[in-house]
């Protein structure tokens, strides 16, 4: 019931923002949206029963990621208005942007909450529809190309996962689609009758959701989307949308984790993770577009997360913790890229330089974000990576840890070289003459996110530890 009310509220707000052209109304409706989202998030923690129905069921995993979505969502909206203020665009484009963003948030929230597997699929597909309108926002040739590729490949990919879901439905012998829920399947313990059927089903589901999660094999369209999307939209693709992919894959992983296919699915996740890491490394060394660079860094982190899922044990905890910090910091870095675009009017790394001079506060922010994202202590990502490696070594993969560490060194070099280029090299002549100004207040939301990430990383509060442990309690120890 609660989810339905929430959806109706958001659809109303999105419809109103679509039809209004005045800026004041847009501000008001955005504030209204934020209030609805905050109330929804609050009730999710304290009135769980209100949201429980045959299709939706709040649990610890969804609560964590919805809270992250609320936090990054608010900063995304603030940054979207900063982005609008620097561009001269039609009011209608702005209305389309805002209404698809609101619908996107609603669909992501629904996907986190859904217990019914088909509803999860429907909402994941709906996120594709909303996000493609957002990717297309700047309306030039390249954005058209990226939108087409993202939209087409995601739709085909998600069709694959639908085939997987249909096969899972056959294989599990449940009485109908309505009882194809995660909670029902988990409580009755899947009996593997036809191994091949389950294997094909899991493979198809993972391949399909890899579009959303940003891991091998369908990660490439995600990168293309990043390179043309507005900064705030990239931040959403790289955090909340990837979290949708992660949550979906993780839920299916949980379903299969108590069957005799456990070792096989671990191998699948491990291979996917290592290949994503490998692709990210190769491309980060040769990439010349800073948005694509940061996008490949997201692929790297999602690869590490797949490896963490495969490693098991303490790594399950580390994976969720990693995603929380990654979401907070990576979104900040993407918000900063819209400043880069404003200053340099180009997305090529060779055309950049001297960001530290132009905006000292922004320079410090980007430098700190770089250190946190690369997992240099005291960043929380250092501890999570450490836990993932610990768990890998415990399962006898020392050789793999060595390979991953070598790849990570290359990534540190590729990422560091380019970020330091943007920060410290002499600025191009054309930019020097133009003397672009950046208002330091624009960096405040990003500093808040960074501070939060640092605080959580160094001193994780007790309730966070408890809720993460609750989210992974079903998995084998």
């Amino acid at each position: 019931m609660g989810v339905l009310i929430y959806f109706i509220c958001i659809i109303c707000i999105a419809a109103m923002v679509y039809f209004t052209r005045s800026k004041t109304m847009q501000y008001l409706l955005t504030t209204l949206f934020i209030i609805v989202q905050l109330v929804f998030n609050y009730l999710l923690f304290f009135e769980k029963d209100f949201f429980t129905s045959i299709f939706f069921r709040p649990d610890a995993l969804s609560s964590i990621f919805i809270t992250i979505l609320t936090i990054t969502g608010i900063t995304t909206l603030i940054n979207s208005f900063v982005y609008f203020s620097k561009r001269n665009e039609h009011a209608i484009h702005r209305s389309i942007y805002l209404s698809s963003l609101f619908m996107l948030f609603a669909c992501i929230n629904g996907a986190f909450l859904s217990d019914n597997i088909n509803i999860l699929w429907i909402l994941a597909e709906a996120t594709t529809l909303c996000i493609s309108l957002l990717i297309y926002h700047e309306r030039h040739e390249e954005s058209l190309e990226a939108t087409w590729k993202y939209f087409f490949v995601s739709t085909i990919g998600l069709s694959f996962s639908f085939i997987g879901i249909l096969l899972l439905n056959t294989a599990t012998n449940v009485s109908g689609f309505s009882s194809l829920t995660f909670s029902a399947l988990m409580s009755q313990q899947i009996q593997i009758t036809n191994e091949l059927l389950f294997q094909i089903s899991f493979m198809l589901i993972v391949i399909g959701f890899s579009v959303k999660m940003g891991v091998f094999p369908l990660h490439t369209v995600c990168i293309d989307a990043h390179s043309v999307a507005p900064g705030p939209v990239s931040a959403i693709i790289s955090t909340s949308l990837m979290n949708v992919g992660f949550v979906s894959v993780f839920r299916f992983f949980m379903l299969f984790s108590h069957t005799n296919l456990y070792i096989w699915i671990n191998h699948v996740m491990l291979i996917i993770g290592v290949l994503s890491l490998l692709f990210a490394t190769v491309y980060m060394l040769k990439v010349d577009n800073y948005k694509r660079l940061i996008a490949y860094s997201s692929i790297e982190h999602m690869g590490l997360i797949s490896i963490g899922i495969a490693a098991g044990g303490i790594a399950y905890y580390a994976v969720i913790f990693h995603l929380i910090i990654h979401s907070l910091t990576k979104s900040s870095l993407f918000y900063q890229t819209s400043q880069f675009v404003g200053i340099y009017r180009s997305k090529h790394i060779d055309d950049t330089g001297g960001y530290f001079n132009i905006s000292p506060s922004g320079g410090i922010l980007v430098l700190l974000l770089f250190l946190v994202i690369m997992g240099i202590p005291p960043s929380g990502l250092f501890f999570t990576k450490f836990m993932i490696f610990q768990s890998l070594i415990a399962s006898g993969y020392l050789w793999l840890v060595v390979i991953i560490l070598i790849l990570l060194v290359f990534i540190l070099w590729g990422f560091g070289k380019n970020i330091l280029h943007i920060l410290f090299l002499k600025e191009p002549k054309e930019v020097e003459e133009r003397k672009p100004k950046i208002n330091p207040w624009e960096n405040v939301p990003q500093f808040i996110l960074l501070g939060l990430a640092l605080y959580i990383g160094i001193n994780p509060p007790d309730f966070l530890i408890n809720i993460i442990n609750e989210a992974i309690q079903y998995l084998p120890k």
Binding site: F55, N116, N118, T147, T155, T193, K286
Partner: protein, 209 residues
């Protein structure tokens, strides 16, 4: 009876793979929609008004009427050339589709169970793989959309073969998603025609590393 319909469905896959004219492909989509309606109608255990309505909307109204009409309108509006331009010849396409059907048959032999009959799996997976083959082997974007719809038809056949009842909400959601996808495909296709004055996928090559 339903076996006959499924065999006609398989034959339509051959025809769609070798036909050199766009409108033939679109008419074959109409045929497939009607065939899917027949299969679903026979599979219905009892005539329940809601089930009948869902099946009617999903197949006849949606797959055989709206989508083909919409694609035809796009072709006429954008003055897209009516000739299909595949990368490989008709004969090779025929061979490929035959191989795909044989592969689906072998896969079906491994996967069949009391709930999942062999002929359904073979037809469904043949549809899915032929759809993918159409997407890979054609240059035009409109052909890609047709390939996607063939793939969707295969999936719908697979879901019918499960013979389980689907709640209205879930079914409506799936339908709505696919409908909006195709509408958005059309929207972006119009933009591509306007921007590039052409529909060939080779033009979309700006983004790479």
């Amino acid at each position: 009876m339903s076996n006959l319909l499924i065999i006609i469905f398989l034959m339509s896959l051959f025809y769609i793979a070798i036909s050199g004219r766009l409108f033939v492909c679109i008419n074959l989509l109409i045929l497939q929609g009607v065939l899917l309606f027949g299969v679903a109608f026979i599979a219905l255990n009892e005539i329940n008004i809601i089930n009948l309505l869902v099946v009617l909307i999903e197949t006849l109204f949606f797959k055989a009427l709206i989508l083909p009409y919409y694609i035809k309108k796009m072709v006429i509006k954008n003055k897209i050339k009516r000739q299909v331009s595949p990368f490989i010849s008709g004969f090779s396409s025929l061979v490929v589709v035959s191989v795909l059907i044989i592969l689906s048959f072998i896969l079906g032999l491994y996967l069949q169970s009391p709930q999942l009959q062999l002929i359904y799996i073979t037809a469904a997976f043949s549809g899915i793989m032929t759809g993918l083959f159409l997407i890979i082997s054609r240059k035009d974007i409109i052909q890609h959309i047709i390939g996607y719809i063939v793939l969707e038809n295969g999936i719908v056949l697979l879901s019918f073969s499960l013979g389980k009842e689907t709640p209205m909400a879930v079914n409506a959601g799936i339908l709505l998603d696919i409908l909006i996808s195709v509408l958005l495909f059309g929207l972006f296709m119009n933009k591509i025609v306007k921007t590039y004055k052409d529909l060939e996928i080779d033009k979309l090559n700006k983004l790479s590393d």
